[in-house]
Amino acid sequence: MPRSDPHESRAAWFLCGPTLLLMLLLLVLPTIAVFVLSLTDAELGEPVVHFLGLDAYADLLTDRSFLGAFRHTAIYVLLVAPASVLIGLGLAMLIEAGAGGRAFFRSVYFLPVVSLVVAMASVWQYLMHPSFGPINIALRMLGFAGVNWLGSSDNVLAALAVIGVWQAVGFNMVLFLAGLTAIDRTLYAAAEMDGIRSAWDRFRVVTWPMLGPTTLFVSTISVINAVKVFETVATLTQGGPAKASETLLWVIYQEGFVYLHIGSASAMAVVFIAVLLFLLVIQTRVLDKQVHYG
């Protein structure tokens, strides 16, 4: 780093001072506190605290509801992220492929993004109601048996995933649209001159590789947002039935703010941070190299 001039340094600290203070109070200290608390059996309103050390984490490994939440979150992510990325990409390409109705479709698909999740979850609850929900009524009209969407432990994650995908495709579509318009048109001309005839080859040779950075970014965002699923669980299932829809954030919330076991909740929060860190490392260290052709 070049030598810094004292005047510039002073100005910089003056400008960053308030932010730095906030960072310490709202980010650094709480993060340290979470790590420290995670090594204890602290309970809110309980003055006596014991130091457990890494035993707190060992306990998590045998905690069936935490392991269940971990598994449910993973399943939810595997259902929502690929579907919302692929559908988002498909929609973006379809919208981009023609002139008609671009602005209209873009707005319609984006609508769920700006609609209150909790409110729309309530609507979905009604739509998915086993007896008088329009979805089951429609299914029965078509001769299928109705499905107990949110009330059966076999279906509840899939039902939440449907809502999650519905909510997320518009956001992904907008990002893909931006990625598509950023592709140099002459590459398509070059591909045509090179004898590329089919839409599939055009996609394989130009669109998909050129969208690489966008796809990686959209995938990362989709995975991280899916890992953070909370609103629909809190509104619709409260983790039920029979804990089948408990997710990471939901058990952290329950453990910390309902049962007030802030020690073990902190340990779960640390695991949650570790999961996010793991995803980010994969993105920046492993995949990033494959989509930037520098």
Binding site: M1, E8, S9, A11, A12, L15, C16, T19, L22, M23, L26, L27, P30, T31, A33, V34, L44, G98, G100, G101, F105, S107, V108, Y109, F110, L111, P112, V114, L116, V117, V118, A119, M120, S122, V123, Y126, L127, F132, P134, I137, M141, W166, V174, L175, A178, A189, T214, F217, K228, E231, A234, T235, L249, Y253, F257, A265, A269, F272, I273, L276
Partner: protein, 278 residues
């Protein structure tokens, strides 16, 4: 020719997109239709969209009176506006310093920004809650705002954007006698306006939707934000009064949707920019 498509393909594109739009709009359509229906009709297991009996007045009266709906929407607006304002006021000077000034500790500060990008509010909500409890801040609007006054994402985004502003502009401002603070507000802010408005949209959508922190920090209906308010409404409702619930969801969803419909370009550009820079 590239993009020369047959009428068949064009028709297929419109067909698929229209079908998808139908799936997207399906919940909205039933939300509005059901909010007009009397309870008996909701339970009657038909797919009709047009309500036969009208319970609109009844449903919407319940939606507006079971919980202090006006107050709740106002809470949402106040909280989101305050959050956005503080975030920009704190983030912009720091982002400018990180982007354009040389000083000892810059790397460490930027490292903290990256750490902040990693750690979401959910993960540190426990100490924040404990602190708020100690300071007697629970059940205040302030507690809904304070944890979000710092946005490392805003710092990161603005830094990326400010880096693209030519140094000469800043040198010129300095030689014109502007202080560094004056440079931030009179030179950087107008030039970073697209980033600021994009971030504002992003932030409003995120915090208008957030349920986690309000659920933890607020237990009084009077202080609820829209998502929490709707949870209170659901709790106050006995049985399956979906007509009234849908009326409440209509009322609570409309503000941001209207804002979106009137400022679509701002939203789309906002999402695009925060996405591509972030």
């Amino acid at each position: 020719m590239i993009g020369r498509s047959s009428p068949l393909l064009r028709g297929l594109r419109l067909l698929v997109l229209t079908f998808g739009a139908g799936v997207i709009l399906f919940p909205f359509i039933f939300m509005i239709s059901t909010s007009f229906k009397p309870q008996a009709e909701v339970f009657s297991a038909g797919l009709s969209l047009i309500p036969t009996g009208s319970a609109a007045l009844d449903n919407y009266t319940k939606a507006l009176t079971r919980i202090p709906m006006g107050r709740i929407l106002l809470n949402g607006v106040v909280v989101c506006a305050a959050i956005v304002l503080f975030q920009i006021v704190f983030a912009l000077p720091a982002a400018y310093a990180l982007a354009k000034l040389r000083f000892r500790g810059r790397e460490i500060l930027f490292g903290l920004v990256l750490l902040g990008l990693l750690v979401p509010i959910h993960a540190i909500s426990i100490p924040l809650y404990a602190a708020a409890r100690m300071l007697n801040l629970l059940n205040t609007l302030a507690v809904l705002i304070i944890p979000f006054t710092l946005s490392v994402f805003a710092i990161f985004l603005f830094r990326q954007f400010i880096r693209a502003i030519p140094d000469d502009l800043i040198h010129a401002a300095r030689s014109d006698g502007l202080s560094e603070a004056a440079i931030v507000w009179r030179i950087i802010l107008p030039n970073a306006w697209p980033a600021a408005s994009a971030f504002a949209i992003f932030s409003v959508v995120a915090h208008w939707n957030d349920l986690y922190w309000p659920l933890i920090a607020i237990s009084k209906t009077q202080l609820a934000t829209p998502p929490l308010g709707l949870l209170f409404f659901r709790a106050a409702e006995v049985g399956d009064d979906y007509g009234a619930l849908m009326a409440a969801t209509v009322v609570i969803t409309t503000p941001l949707v209207l804002f979106f419909l009137f400022a679509q370009r701002l939203f789309i550009e906002g999402v695009t920019m925060t996405g591509l820079k972030g």
